[in-house]
């Protein structure tokens, strides 16, 4: 049934996406705001458009409340100082809702119309998990349940009237012993690994890294939502590649030339060593400003991609961040030589606003 309100809702959404578009996308283009808080919960502001009125303002107003507390007891925090000053752009009333990362990912998928990922042919892989679920009267001594054993002994002594209230001694005998038992559950599992590669040559500035960081956050969130078991590896490269931890990945600033093939080689050997493609869904993301050192290396990159990486990966995404220094040639080379490859997705990210489109093109194929 079409509801009357639908027209108004869609009109509202249009306006939010149009007029306040930048505000709405703020939580996509600004990584900091979405940072994981507490136990995997984040706050999502629900946009509202505020209609201005002549109204009494200022915090001077105070008010009347009800409840316990001495004079001087703080009851609520004021807003952050400095907001709402004169001449500010149309104010927005923000309603914050705490939601889990999974819900966030679901919203992301709705927003970007992302399809769910079909893991490739790994449905037969199962993992086994033991869980202590019950109690039995036989078992190894190491699993003896102390409390239940004594409880059982107490029960027996009460029934047989061997329990003396004045001298409450409980002595378990063999039959009283109780043991923990476990159940093994199997569940289908799909493993996935993301290997992020980033060019950290001199031409990648802080802004470029910020883009990479934000985009990685969203990709992470999405893939976590899709896979139970997700591993993340990071590779940075300039003229040589090395594996690093997350912190280093986002904060290093190297300098020097760029040899992209070094990163691809490292990724390939990582897959060889740890991630058997028959067991793992492999996602490769590479961010660079597209300024590779020499055509010979670009040729090598293409060869590695074609022969080693693409056949084994679910997806290879190359995001080219625009930088004032880079020539940006690399993406065009990839396009020319590998446009037949379905698993290769290329995306140019001009600025922070481009992240939105880029995520959509990376994850929009459902692989």
């Amino acid at each position: 049934m079409v509801k009357r309100i639908d027209r108004d809702v869609s009109r509202f959404r249009q306006i939010v996406r149009g007029r306040v578009k930048k505000d709405l996308k703020k939580y996509i283009t600004r990584g900091e705001m979405i940072g994981k808080k507490g136990k995997d919960f984040v706050s999502i502001p629900i946009s509202q458009i505020h209609i201005p009125r002549f109204r009494l303002g200022g915090k001077k107003m105070g008010g009347v409340g009800q409840g316990d507390g001495e004079v001087g007891t703080p009851i609520a925090q004021g807003d952050q100082p400095g907001t709402g000053s004169a001449g500010e752009a149309p104010g927005r009333h923000i309603l914050e809702v705490d939601i889990s990362l999974d819900e966030l990912a679901a919203m992301l998928s709705e927003e970007l119309e992302l399809p769910n990922i079909e893991p490739r042919g790994k449905k037969n892989i199962t993992s086994r998990k033991d869980k202590y679920t019950g109690i039995s009267d036989t078992g190894p001594e190491s699993l003896r349940h102390f409390k239940r054993t004594f409880k059982q002994a107490l029960r027996r002594q009460v029934i047989t009237q061997n329990y003396d209230l004045k001298n409450p001694v409980i002595v378990p005998i063999r039959e009283d012993r109780r043991y923990r038992t476990w159940k093994t559950t199997t569940k289908p599992e799909s493993n996935a690994v993301i290997i992020y590669m980033m060019d950290v040559s001199g031409s990648m500035g802080d802004e470029q890294k910020e883009i990479v960081r934000t985009e990685s956050f969203w990709i992470d969130t999405w893939l976590h939502y899709q896979y139970d078991n997700l591993e993340t590896r990071y590779i940075i490269h300039d003229a040589v590649a090395r594996e690093v931890d997350q912190n280093t990945f986002f904060h290093t600033r190297e300098s020097g030339g760029t040899i992209i093939s070094s990163a691809y080689k490292l990724a390939s050997s990582m897959i060889d060593a740890h991630f058997d493609p028959s067991e793992w869904n492999i996602y490769l993301f590479h961010f660079s400003d597209g300024d590779n050192w020499g055509e010979i290396d670009t040729d090598e990159c293409i060869a590695i991609l074609r022969d080693k990486l693409l056949p084994r990966a679910n997806l290879f995404c190359y995001g080219q961040v625009e930088s004032p220094y880079g020539s940006g040639q690399f993406i065009r080379e990839l396009e020319d030589y590998l446009k037949e490859e379905e698993k290769l997705i290329l995306s140019e990210i001009r600025d922070k606003d481009g992240i939105y489109a880029s995520i959509k093109s990376f994850l929009g194929k459902g692989k």
């Binding site: 509801k3 009357r4 309100i5 209609i51 107003m61 009800q66 316990d68 925090q77 001449g87």
Partner: protein
């Protein structure tokens, strides 16, 4: 109305209970709706048909998300109309439906009998639908962008009405043409002998006085409006250079604002009254043993208090109960007021049994402001643990500032005055003789929100089409905000 048999049975018995207590209401039509329909109707302010606008979509978006995340749920929705319309959510339990029905009948009684609702249109359902048709027609003719933008402008000033206007005549119907010629106010001459006259009443000074007086007469004649006008909307409808459809939309917004005003004026009483009666009807008559726990749970949720926000349901119901108890025991009048012995006062009981009579009288005559003013006693204030709070800059917190009866009451009354809205008047529609609009904010101690004031001023400019000004006070200094279509200016008024 097609209620399931069991609900219909309950409805009939609740009507009987309510009538036996003396509640007097319009027929009430109950509709059973799904949660999303309820959210939709609630977004439209209770009316199934209203003009399309994104702000209802925004309301809906918030309600729907709130419902989805389990943050909020609407229980009861009833509109002031004859017959009243009320909505029951399909998924609610029977006990909840009974509670809601009892609550709703009390609301309907309030709508029908409270003085402040006496001037509202009881066929508002139809009128709202008519408004919707008119607006739709304009949208078809002029395009949705244009109409929507103008509605936004109107909504931005919809609070600039005079809530007492339905009750009093502020200006005579016919201008008093005969008396409008203002008497000349040239001061009388000093007494003097003829030969001294030229010295005691020098010619130049007399002429100057005459000139000033004439000027004043002229200005008075030209002043427009003659009296500061509080119904800014009506003034704009009558005098702003608007197209016909714009004038119509502005008057639609105004009519709806006046319709909703009494609900703002009686929020505490209305909800208190309904809660008072649902609790009476349910606990004395309608509840079955099995429903007690669920009822208690739901009722306590309704009257739950949270620090820093007054719950109108709670405050209202407690005040009504207090009034009932006081009038039952005769705790009023000179003798009681003058009794200073705490013990005697406390145990005062003349067994008058006037409680119910009094609460009915109160629901008829009062609005929130008068209600609090008349019945908030020091004992009540202490019992209910009311406190005043204020903002402290040093730690960026709102803090409890006082529990003194006088302070609390004053603060509460202040927040209810004019429904917490600023008093804005049209002072001069021909400001500096250039047809500019000059508004006056009657400052009562609290400044206007400046960023909003700017934007609103810009919206009024869109209606008036000439520069607009508003005189107000910021940080204890008088100031005029102006907008001339291009830029904002702040000036200090010259006397």
């Amino acid at each position: 109305m097609n209620l399931p048999i069991e609900l219909e049975r309950e409805r009939k018995s609740i009507i009987a209970y309510a009538k036996s207590y003396g509640l007097d209401f319009y027929d009430t039509v109950f509709e059973i709706v799904e949660f999303d329909q309820l959210n939709e109707i609630a977004s439209y302010g209770g009316f199934p048909t209203r003009y399309p606008h994104w702000r209802y979509g925004m309301e809906y978006d918030e309600l729907a998300k709130g419902y989805e995340y389990g943050l909020q749920k609407i229980y009861e929705l009833v509109i002031n109309n004859d017959p009243c319309y009320a909505y029951l959510m399909k998924s609610n339990k029977l006990v909840d439906q009974k509670l809601v029905m009892a609550h709703v009948y009390a609301h309907c009684d309030f709508f029908k009998n409270n003085l402040w609702f006496s001037k509202t249109n009881r066929k508002m359902m139809d009128q709202m639908a008519n408004h919707a048709i008119r607006v739709r027609r304009y949208i078809e003719k002029y395009g949705s962008e244009v109409v929507e933008d103008f509605i936004e402008v109107c909504l931005s000033i919809e609070n600039l009405i005079d809530p007492h206007l339905p009750f009093i005549k502020r200006t005579p119907d016919e201008p008093d043409l005969a008396g409008s010629e203002v008497e000349k106010t040239v001061p009388a001459k000093f007494k003097s002998k003829p030969y001294m006259d030229a010295f005691i009443n020098p010619k130049e000074i007399r002429e100057e006085q005459k000139r000033v007086a004439d000027q004043k007469v002229k200005e008075d004649k030209q002043r427009f409006p003659q009296q500061p006008e509080r119904d800014v909307l009506a003034f704009l409808i009558a005098h702003a250079p608007l197209e016909k459809w714009q004038r119509d939309i502005l008057s639609i917004i105004r009519v709806e604002a006046y319709y909703f005003a009494p609900q703002g004026q009686t929020k505490i009483m209305n909800e208190g009254w309904a809660t008072f009666w649902h609790s009476k009807i349910m606990t004395e008559k309608a509840l079955t043993d099995a429903e007690v726990i669920d009822y208690a749970d739901h009722h306590s949720g309704t009257v739950a208090t949270s620090v820093g926000r007054l719950n109108p349901y709670k405050l209202g119901v407690e005040l009504f109960r207090d009034i009932e108890a006081r009038w039952n025991k005769g705790k009023f009048g000179k003798e009681y007021e003058e009794c200073s012995d705490w013990q005697t006062r406390r145990n005062w009981d003349k067994k008058l049994g006037l409680g119910l009579k009094k609460v009915f009288e109160v629901r008829q005559m009062y609005n929130d402001l008068m209600f609090i003013d008349a019945f908030l006693t020091p004992e009540f204030c202490a019992e209910q643990k009311l406190f005043a709070f204020e903002y402290r800059e040093r730690n960026n917190y709102y803090e409890i500032s006082d529990r003194e009866y006088k302070v609390v009451k004053e603060k509460l009354l202040f927040s209810l005055t004019n429904m917490g809205q600023p008093f804005i008047f049209v002072q001069d529609a021909n400001y500096s003789n250039r047809g500019e609009l000059y508004l006056l904010h009657k400052h009562e101690g609290i400044d206007l929100d400046q960023s909003d004031a700017h934007d609103t001023l810009a919206n009024i400019y869109n209606v008036w089409n000439r520069p607009v000004h508003i005189e107000t006070v910021v940080d204890e200094t008088e100031i005029i905000f102006s907008f001339d279509g291009k830029e904002f200016r702040e000036t200090t008024p010259v006397e």
